[in-house]
Symmetry: C2
Subunit: 339 residues, 2 copies
DNA sequence: AAATAAAACGTGCACGTGCACACTAAAAAG
DNA sequence: CTTTTTAGTGTGCACGTGCACGTTTTATTT
């Protein structure tokens, strides 16, 4: 592996000049630049990561992490993955400032300001879907503080990347499972968070599109909202089961799984009901072990945390943007036996 | 973060002595040792990885990788994951020597010798199940060449770890899927590689055990062997389908999936047959897209490659053994929609 | 022509560790 | 008493990069 020193010797200049050429720092004579670049290409120069890491020690990179769901175990797992990656990246001597807030625009905006005050060099954010947050992200970008959105996106903002799941594909996967579980003829009820939340809607359309394209005999009988609240969920599911005693599948697009399952346990059903959910938080796992939930589709929260940190640190150290601006996690289906 | 330099200053000794104490190198006065260790613990000293990486440059670690299945796309994916991790670990300046061989004891033994000749510092190996290989691994261990088994294990050897899947759990997961796909009453046919191969047997017993424990109405009608050969597979599956025209599920524990599926395509079945397989090689994906295969259980080949390299390099650089001597991958269920 | 500004480049330190080598003082051997 | 051994310790280089600072040359202004 070629080093800057070797390039300098072969080009007849000093290591400092090579540094200036390769890192676009300062001013260099056009001819010199050409020669250095030539030789660098010839030797297939790749910066030595150990050297970069060593030099990065003094930079003391500070990364802000701001997630919703202060009480949501899903985001605990995101944090776990992020921490794991932080350990791996400890070689670059970077530190994180973590904040968990409830689902609220104002506290999101103020916490971002707080993190900026602390002098963060980059931000990982699960954004509230509001124009003010988008503007904030754009401002940060102008201030040389790059931002990565995680779990939910703000596609029109100047975030350098989104890391999360493909919600449409989530819905399609659920549809595929329903087909396999029922043999192609079924009555499906859907419990969603809110029609206003884009990602819930996308999961529903992914599912409906697949049914109409491939399994027309599967019928979505009703969609109810639980506002991601377990008690609301308990109520709406109870009533749904009363209205449709012949329901064969119940599909949760988001939170409120536990409340919904309690409603199922409480109802006296004559036919077996298959339940399909998202994510595998502890209460979901409990219901899978009881046999209430047949399958759950996981969006790899740990990987989301790990990937977003890796991308941000890479950008801060090398200036490399990710190849794709949206990075989707693999979806993994879990049943009782492979939890 | 504390450094060796700081520890040296606080202990009133030189950095060299701190190095000797912490890395058990050379001879140190008992009292001095005690004091240094005390202060190191007090400061919660963790060696700086960038420094280690930089110093590791001159060691030029060489890792041998010896995998079966020269023509098997599954092991291609293992190699992909390993390469990816190698890129990440390039910071330590290590290189790999890769060999792919066919399933044969003699060539495995001779290739190991060849790699040792090349001066490898460690070996990643998918071992042939034979005492001679075990002895070879033990010999390597005596020679200070640690070995990690991948995909299949040799538990009684002196390998420092096994990275792969839990075959019994694979079988249980398949059983769980069959239950969900059929509703608890089904006739199941099993196509296996060979009864002599331990891991195939484990997948079958995982499946049978779950059925007898939880789903007694599901019946395994026959187990046939295909010796991991597609044409043999075509033949035995054809005959199996003739003998059991009422079969509801066909379960492949190993290779020969493509040949078996061709047999299914060729047979005129009156009732829909659900097929469950392992891994997601290109021909399997093709059959999933055609709708022949309902689901496949993946053992994360890329992760196997990545994890084994990470563990080996970690051991070589720091002497840390993995916490568990057997590392099992998560099992991920794939259907057409989440491939 | 002298003074100032700008362009272009070189030098040297810092980062933390591994390891070879040199060195001192005390104990053992002659 | 002198020489040799050995336990114990200190010193300094190497690894590759980022970056601040200094120096020299060339161009521009007064």
């Amino acid at each position: 592996m070629a080093t800057m020193k070797e390039i300098a010797e072969l080009s007849g200049v000093s290591r400092g000049t090579v540094d200036r050429v390769l890192n676009h720092r300062g001013v260099v004579n056009a001819e010199t630049e050409k020669k250095v670049l030539e030789i660098a290409k010839l030797l297939d120069y790749q910066p030595n990561k150990a050297g970069i890491a060593l030099a990065a020690q003094k930079k003391k990179l500070k990364i802000g992490v701001l997630l919703f769901g202060a009480e949501n175990p899903f985001f605990d797992e995101v944090m776990d993955g992020l921490k794991r990656k932080l350990e791996e990246l400890s070689i670059y001597g970077c530190t994180t400032f973590e904040r968990r807030i409830s689902f609220d625009l104002e506290s999101q905006l103020s916490t971002i300001d707080e993190l900026v005050e602390l002098g963060i060099n980059g931000l990982i954010l699960s954004p509230y879907n509001d124009e003010k947050v988008q503007e904030k992200i754009d401002t940060l970008w102008e201030q040389n503080i790059p931002c990565i959105t995680i779990n939910t996106d703000l596609p029109d903002s100047k975030r350098i990347a989104y890391v999360g799941s493909d919600y449409y594909k989530c819905g399609q996967t659920a549809a595929g499972l329903i087909h396999l579980f029922t043999g192609g003829c079924a009555k499906v009820g859907i419990v969603t968070g809110s029609h206003k939340v884009l990602c819930h809607e996308e999961r529903i359309s992914g599912l409906k599109d697949l049914f109409s394209a491939r399994h027309p005999a599967i019928q979505v009988v009703e969609v109810v909202e639980n506002n991601d609240d377990d008690y609301k969920s308990y109520e709406v599911v109870s009533k749904l089961l009363e209205r449709h005693p012949d329901l064969s599948v119940l599909y949760f697009t988001a939170a409120g799984v536990y409340g919904g399952c309690r409603a199922i346990l409480n109802a006296s059903l004559q036919s077996p009901l298959k339940v399909i959910t998202f994510d595998a938080v502890p209460s979901t796992i409990e219901m899978m072990e009881k046999g209430i939930i047949s399958a759950t589709i996981c969006q790899q929260p740990e990987e989301q945390g790990a990937k977003s940190l890796a991308l941000l640190v890479d950008y801060l150290l090398t200036g490399n943007l990710p190849e794709e601006s949206s990075i989707y996690m693999d979806l993994s289906i879990k049943i009782r036996e492979n939890l």
